[in-house]
Symmetry: C2
């Protein structure tokens, strides 16, 4: 009987660690990652502060684990599903749509985790900011790669300015996210999704096609 | 001799009030308008706190005066010069350019005063937030009016989606501003100015023409 008991304990430990970090990631998009304290989080999830210290030794460890948890959610909801689409125009549109839908569905209450925490962390350089920057850079790079693939595949007009296209696509997504956070009106998400299609030269109601 | 003396005193008072408010407006774009205190500002401009109280009775009075000062600067640098251009395509491009140049020149160190303070003030509803919202709404309305004038003048393709165009123009400006604040690289200002031209259907190096 010892084995199942140990398993159950470990499973509970894993589950509660995950639950704590999901709460931490959500809170961080509203109150900030730097403002997150072990005591505050303990109160939020109904645990003792000493229990929190058993999970996370320090505030920085908690912050890094929170960024990792947010990254894992972002992969599950945005990056993973987007990888079902081929590189190029359709992959770019799918990635943009999945990002905008994760904003519309308020996967994180304060918008994109990696936008919400970035501005705040600029004032606190260190490994936590670096971890956030890594995810942002990877996300941006995916758009860059999709645009290069689209150009190579002849999906863009010859001589299209890829730097300008990348800027325009990010601009629509960024304003859509900002206005949705300020106004909560899904219409701005539609405008952002249409903006991406217009820049990619497809109709406003175009649906990207999966790889197979 | 009494008259010149009185004038001199009043002139000094006006000058120093203006200087204080210019400092306050600059500080607010970096540290926030809510974080602005009479004591902190007094230290910054080298005045006594009691002298500050003689100028501004309360924190809210100081905040409202700071917004008014920022609005006056914004009118001098962006809105006023833009009014030399005709309603429609050229007026819109000139307004966007003047806005982006005021970002590039760091007229306010933290970017656009009315963007920098808006997010912060959302947590503090009241007359100060209302004053900021008024300026933002007026600015946005100018783009709306220019687009309607452009459509009426036949400067846009027939049936152009004005709501989408307005979103796209604001998106380019907004991302240009955000990236410039984060990276300080004027290249993103160029991309924003080009994005506006592309949306308005003119070449990337197009120069708007004044009314006369």
């Amino acid at each position: 009987m010892a084995v199942p008991a140990t398993r159950a304990v470990r499973s509970d430990g894993i589950r509660s660690r995950e639950a704590i970090l999901r709460t931490a990631a959500s809170l961080a998009t509203v109150r900030g990652l730097e403002a997150l304290s072990l005591g505050e989080l303990a109160a939020e999830v109904g645990m003792s502060k000493s229990g929190m210290y058993a999970h996370f030794g320090s505030k920085e460890e908690l912050q890094l684990a929170t960024v990792a948890a947010a990254k894992s959610i972002f992969e599950d909801v945005v990056l993973g599903p987007a990888s079902a689409y081929p590189p190029g125009r359709d992959g770019l549109i799918a990635l943009a749509d999945l990002f905008m839908e994760h904003i519309r569905r308020r996967i994180f209450p304060g918008g994109c985790f990696f936008d919400a925490t970035f501005d705040e962390l600029l004032s606190y350089p260190g490994p936590v900011l670096d971890a956030v920057i890594d995810v942002r850079r990877d996300f941006r790079q995916r758009f860059h790669d999709h645009l290069e693939a689209a150009a190579t595949a002849g999906e863009l007009p010859p001589g299209a300015d890829l730097e300008q296209l990348e800027f325009d696509v990010m601009a629509g997504m960024s304003l859509g996210e900002d206005l949705f956070r300020a106004q909560g009106d899904g219409r701005v998400i539609d405008l952002a999704e249409r903006a991406v299609r217009l820049r990619m030269g497809v109709p406003a109601d175009y649906r990207p096609v999966r790889s197979r």
